[in-house]
C-alpha cells in the first residue's frame, strides 16, 4: 500500500554533493524535506529519495545557501510517467477511460458479504435481499438502506438485527439472530415421562409424579415410566419429571463393496484461464471439454479488488485439470472390518449421546461382493422423555368430581 502511494505521488532519487554531509542532512530536516534511503557514495556525496515537493525545496535550499549541489539520479512514479507520455493522446485517453471505468464500477454492487448468521443460511438472506433490489450489479447510491433493513426483519422473522454497510462496491450485511425462547416448565400441564426406546430399567429417579417402573423391569418404547397421576387423597394430576436409566441394545450395520476403483494421480495437469467481466466470461483457451479421459477439475475464482477493499466486476478464473488413473482395487475383509467398525462406533456414540457403551460385538459377513459389518452394542442410557398427556389420557386419569 505504501509502495503504491509512493508510486502515485512520485519520488526522486537525488545526489547531494557537499563538504559536510551532516550539514546538508540537517538543512533538509530543518526545511521539512522528508527523505528516505540515505546512502553515502564512495566519492563522499550522499544519495536520498525525496518526494516531488521535497525535490523542489532541495533546489531552493541549494540556491539560497549554496551548502550543496543537487544532481538528479532517477525519477520514478506516476507523475513522471504521465509527463513522459503527455503527447501520446490515445494512451492518455485510454488511461482516463480506464480510470473513469474503475470509478464508475465502484457505483455498483459487485460483492455482498453476509456475516453473523448461524442458523439462517446466507442464501436465504441473499434471496430476500434480491427481492428488495439489492443484488450484484445494482447501483449502490439508490439503495434505501433503512427501508430494506426493516423489510428484511419482517421477511426473515428469525433475525433480530440487520445492518447494510456499503464499502465502495461491496455490501456487508451484518445480522444477529433471535435467541429462541426456551421451553418453559408449566406445572399445570399434566405430563408423564414415557420410554423413548426399549430396555431393562437400571435406575429410576422420580422428581415429580409417581414411578411406574422399578430397576429390573423390561420396558418397550412408549411405556409410561413416571406417571402424572399422584394418588394422594382423591388424587391429582401433575407435571411428572425425572430420569430413568436403562440397559438398551443397539444394532447397527454398514456395508462396502469388495471391489471398487481407486484413483492414482499421474502428475499430468493442464491449466486453463478465463476472465469474467461483469457477467460475461471470456475464455483464454480454444478447446473445451475434458483434456483427459479421467481427471479432476479444480476451479479457483479470484476477484479483482482495489487497495482499500473495493471490488471490481472482474474475476480471474483458473481451471486446473489433474489427470488420474483409476485401478480396480479389492478391499480385504480385515481392511473393510477395520474401516466399517470405526465408522459404526462413531455412529453409535452419536446416537446414544450422553449414554455409555457397556459392551460391543462385531459380526462380519460377505455376500455377493459386499462386505457387511454388524455392530451389536449394550448401552446404558437415559430413556425417559416428557410428553404432555392427550385429552383422552387426561380424562382417563382425572380424579372423580373434578
Amino acid at each position: 500500500m505504501t509502495g503504491l502511494l509512493t508510486f502515485l505521488k512520485g519520488s526522486v532519487r537525488v545526489e547531494l554533493n557537499c563538504r559536510y554531509a551532516e550539514r546538508a542532512i540537517n538543512l533538509c530536516a530543518r526545511n521539512h524535506v522528508d527523505f528516505t534511503d540515505l546512502r553515502r557514495t564512495p566519492e563522499g556525496a550522499v544519495r536520498m529519495t525525496v518526494g516531488i515537493g521535497g525535490y523542489a525545496a532541495l533546489r531552493r535550499i541549494s540556491r539560497e545557501t549554496g551548502a550543496f549541489t543537487v544532481k538528479t539520479v532517477r525519477r520514478e512514479g506516476a507523475p513522471f510517467l504521465l509527463w513522459r507520455v503527455r503527447r501520446r493522446y490515445a494512451l492518455l485517453a485510454g488511461l482516463a477511460l480506464c480510470a473513469a471505468a474503475i470509478a464508475a464500477s465502484t457505483l455498483f454492487v459487485w460483492q455482498i458479504d453476509v456475516a453473523g448468521n448461524e442458523t439462517v443460511p446466507s442464501s436465504r438472506i441473499l434471496a430476500a435481499l434480491r427481492e428488495e433490489g439489492v443484488d450484484i450489479g445494482a447501483g449502490t447510491l439508490g439503495i434505501p438502506r433503512r427501508q430494506v433493513e426493516n423489510r428484511m426483519l419482517l421477511k426473515i422473522p428469525e433475525l433480530s438485527f440487520i445492518s447494510l454497510n456499503t464499502h465502495g462496491s461491496r455490501i456487508e450485511v451484518l445480522v444477529r439472530e433471535k435467541i429462541q425462547k426456551p421451553e418453559l416448565y408449566d406445572p399445570d400441564v399434566p405430563t408423564s415421562v414415557f420410554a423413548e426406546k426399549a430396555g431393562i430399567v437400571t435406575d429410576v429417579l422420580a422428581l415429580q409424579g409417581v414411578a411406574k417402573v422399578k430397576p429390573g423391569d423390561a420396558v418397550t418404547a412408549g411405556d409410561e415410566l413416571i406417571s402424572a397421576f399422584v394418588p394422594l387423597g382423591k388424587g391429582r394430576l401433575t407435571h411428572a419429571a425425572g430420569s430413568v436409566t436403562a440397559r438398551t441394545w443397539v444394532e447397527l450395520s454398514a456395508s462396502t463393496p469388495v471391489n471398487f476403483r481407486k484413483k492414482t494421480a499421474t502428475g499430468e495437469k493442464k491449466t486453463r484461464r478465463a476472465i469474467i467481466l461483469g457477467g460475461k466470461r471470456i475464455n483464454f483457451y480454444f478447446t473445451g471439454g475434458n483434456p483427459y479421459a479421467e481427471c479432476d477439475k479444480i476451479t479457483v475464482y479470484k476477484k479483482l479488488t482495489l487497495p482499500g477493499g473495493d471490488v471490481l466486476p472482474v474475476t480471474f478464473v483458473r481451471e486446473t485439470w489433474e489427470e488420474y488413473e483409476s485401478q480396480e482395487y479389492a478391499v480385504t475383509v480385515q481392511e473393510a472390518e477395520r474401516i466399517l467398525s470405526s465408522r459404526l462406533l462413531w455412529e453409535l456414540e452419536e446416537r446414544i449421546g450422553s449414554g455409555s457403551v457397556v459392551s460391543t460385538q462385531f459380526e462380519t459377513a460377505e455376500e455377493s461382493g459386499v462386505i457387511t459389518v454388524t455392530l451389536r452394542a449394550e448401552c446404558l442410557e437415559e430413556i425417559g422423555v416428557e410428553r404432555p398427556l392427550t385429552g383422552e389420557e387426561t380424562a382417563a386419569l382425572r380424579p372423580e368430581g373434578e
Binding site: E22, I25, N26, C28, A29, D34, D37, R39
Partner: protein
Amino acid sequence: MKKDRAARGIQRAAEALELPGEPGLGVPRVTVTGGSRVHVENHRGLLEYGPEAITVNAGTLLVKVRGSGLEIEAMSDMELVVSGTVRAVEFVS
C-alpha cells in the same frame, strides 16, 4: 538560562504528576528494535554521520549509535530512523 529553568520546572512537574515528558518538552525518545533499528524522536539534527557511528543531537543530550553499516533509513524534522548492525546506543550529556 531562564528557558532552561522553566523547562526543568515543567519536567519536574510532569515527573511529579507521572506524565510522559516527551510531548510538551521535546524530551527525546529512543526506541531500539532488535539490534538493527534505532528510532529517535524529538531530535535537533545530526552531528556525525558515518557507517560506524551516527550522533544525533537530542537537545538535552546526545544520542550516539555505534555499529557497522549504519544508514539513515528515513528522516523528518521530528524523527529519524537509523538502520544497520547496532552495537551500542550511548547517551552523552
